[in-house]
Amino acid sequence: MAIDQTTDRRVYSADDPIIEIRNAAVTYDEGRSYVLDHVSLELERGEILGVVGESGSGKSMLASSLLDAVPSPGHLTGEITYRPDGKAPINILELEKADRRSLRWEDISMVFQGAMNSFNPTLDLRTHFEETLRAHDADIKKGLGRAEELLEDLYLEPDRILDSYPHELSGGMQQRALIALSLVLDPDVLVMDEPTAALDLLMQRSILLLLSDLQEKYNLTMVFITHDLPLVAALADRMAIMYAFRLVEIGDTRDIVENAAHPYTRALLNSTPNLDAPLSEMQPIDGQSPAPINMPTGCAYHPRCPLATEECRTEVPDYHEVETDHGSACYHWQASYDEVPLLHENSPGDTTGGVDE
C-alpha cells in the first residue's frame, strides 16, 4: 500500500527549501491504513503554498505533521526537515521534548480552524499574548510591542483588542487576533488549517489580503490549508491537491487552475460554483471519497475516474512531470485534458470582479 512518491523529485522540489517532507505517513492502526499516505513535499522559503482537499482527505494531518503534532495515538513516520536560514537543518521528528516545544510557535506556528475555540474565554487577549511570551521566555514588553504592531497590520485597534475578552469580538476580529497571536514570537513558517472557514466570504477575502501583506512584511513562509480551491487560488503561489490522504497534483497556482493535469483536480475545478462560468455548467463529482479503512487499490481516485484503466486499479501512480515544477500522479494526465474539459476556460476572463464605471 505504501507508495514512494519521491522518485521524481523535480515536480515538488524547491530551490531553497525551508521545510522538506519525505514520505510523511500517519497511521492509527500500526500501518494497516494511513490517514496521511507517504507524502513528500518541499516548501520554498518565502512562498505561500495552498493545500486543497475535501473533508477527510488528510490535509489537516499534513498540517499537524509539520509541527510533529499529530493527535494521539496517531503514529507519524517519515522525515521532516526544517532548514532555518543560515543554521543547521533540524529533523523535526527527532527533537527532544523541550526543543520541539520551542520550535513550535517560535519557528513554525500554527493557526487552527475556529478561532472561537482557540482562545480561553475567561482570559482577556492581553493575557493570551503575555502567557505565550512568558511560556517561551520572551521579553514581554518587547513582545507586546510587536503584538500591537501585528494587530495594527491586521486593521485592529491594539488597545481595544488587548483589553477585550474573546466573546466581545466578532468572529472576523477573533480570527485576526489569533493570527497576530500566532506571529508574536516571530516564526518563519505559518501553517493555517482552514483559518477562515467559519467566516463570511467578505471577511475571508479581506483576511486573505491581509495575509499576503503580512507575508511580504515579515518575510513569512505560509501553508494555507482549505477545501475551497478558488479561495486560496487568489493567495497561493503554488498549490498541492490532496485526494484520499495522498498528494495527487502539485504545481504553480496558474498551472493548477488553467492547466490542471489530474482528472480529480479538473473535476474539482468544475464542481465549484463560480461567477465566471456559465450558469448551466456546474458538475458535481460523482461518488464519494474513500475512508482510510477501505482505500481502493491502485490510484484511490479510480472508482470515480472516467479515465480509469486496469493499470489504475492495480498500481499507485507516481508523479508524472507535466511541466517543470508541475506534477500529476496520474497515468492518463494527457488524456484528462480532453476527457474532463474545464468549464471556466471558455468564459470571458475580463468581465468579472469589481465592476467599475
Binding site: 477575502r205 475551497d228 476572463g349 469589481g354
Partner: protein
Amino acid sequence: MSDNPLISLEDIEVHFTNENLLNFDEPETVHAVDGVSLDIEENDIVSLVGESGCGKTTLGKTAIGLQRPTGGSVTYRGEDIWAVRDGTATTETEWEDIRTSLQIIHQDPGASLNPNRRIVSILSEPLRQVNPELSRSEKRSRIYSLLERVGMNPPQDFAERYPHQLSGGEQQRVALCRALLMNPDVILADEAISALDVSLRVEMMDLMLDLQDEFDTSYIFISHDLSNARYFSGHGGGKIGVMYLGELVEVGPAEDMINDPQHPYTNVLRWATPDLALRGTGEPPMRKIDVPDPVDPPSGCRFHTRCPKATEACRQETPSDYQHGEQTVACFREDENHEYWDSPELTD
C-alpha cells in the same frame, strides 16, 4: 385562489432589546432588521446574502413565522400570520396549518438531528403530524422512497442508522427530507450548504432544485456566498436580495444582480466571491473591513462608513428604493438629480 403572494413581508422591523437588570443605563437595542419589504411567490426562490450579522437569518425566520417582528406585517396567502396566531383575525385559517407550511433547514445538520434517534424515527415524526392515518409500514415505505430519492442507498440501511453515523452531506439530506415530509409551501434553508465541502455544495443545491419541482415548494435560501446564491436562484429563476446591517439594499433577478450590480455593497460582495480568473485580489472596493455595531447603526445610508462612493449626503439622508430595470436599489447613485453628486466625498 387569490393573487396574493405566498408570503408578503411589509416594512418588517425586528429589534432585539437587551434589558439588563443590574444596569440602569439605556437598554441596548439591536436593529436586526429595519424596514424590509419582500414578496415570496409560489415555487419561488429568494436568496438572501450578506455578511455575518446583517440580519438575513432574522429576516428569514420572520418570513416563516419563527420570529415575531417588532414592526410591520407578515402575510401568508393574504392572511396576517401573527393576527392568526393571536386569534385576532377573522378567518378559518389555523396557526398550526401555517406553521406546518413553513419549514426550516438549519446550518448545522448534526445539531439539528436528535442524536438518540434513528433516521427512520426522525423522519416518522413529520409523517405522524401531517398524515396521522398512515400505517407503520406505509410510513416506512414513504421514508424509504424519499431516502432513495435523495441518493441514500440502500434506504433500509440508512434508515436504521443514527445521525452520527452519517456524513455531513447525508445529515443535511435527512434534514431536507424531514422538512419535505411536512409538505411545506416554503423551506427556509439557513446556510444549509455552508457546512459542506465546496465540491458537495453543487450536488446538494441540484438536489434541492429537483425536489422543488416534485414537491412544489418555495425556498428562502440564506448564504454569505454570492456564487451559491447565484447558482441556486439562477437555476430556479429566482431573486437575490442583498442585506446590509438589517436593511435590504438591493434585490433583483439573479443574473442581473451578478452581471450588473448597482449598489456599491453588492459590488463589494461580488469582489469577495472567489473566482478562478487569477487577476489577483486587488484592493477591496470598501474603506473599512469591519461592520459597524448594529446597536448603533450609522446615520443615513448605513453603508456610508465603508462605501468607497459615499458622500456627505449619504451620511445625512437615508436613500429610498430606486428602480433600475428589474432591480430595486437603495442608493442615491440611481438618481441623477440627487444632491449626492454635488456633495463632498467621504474619505475617513
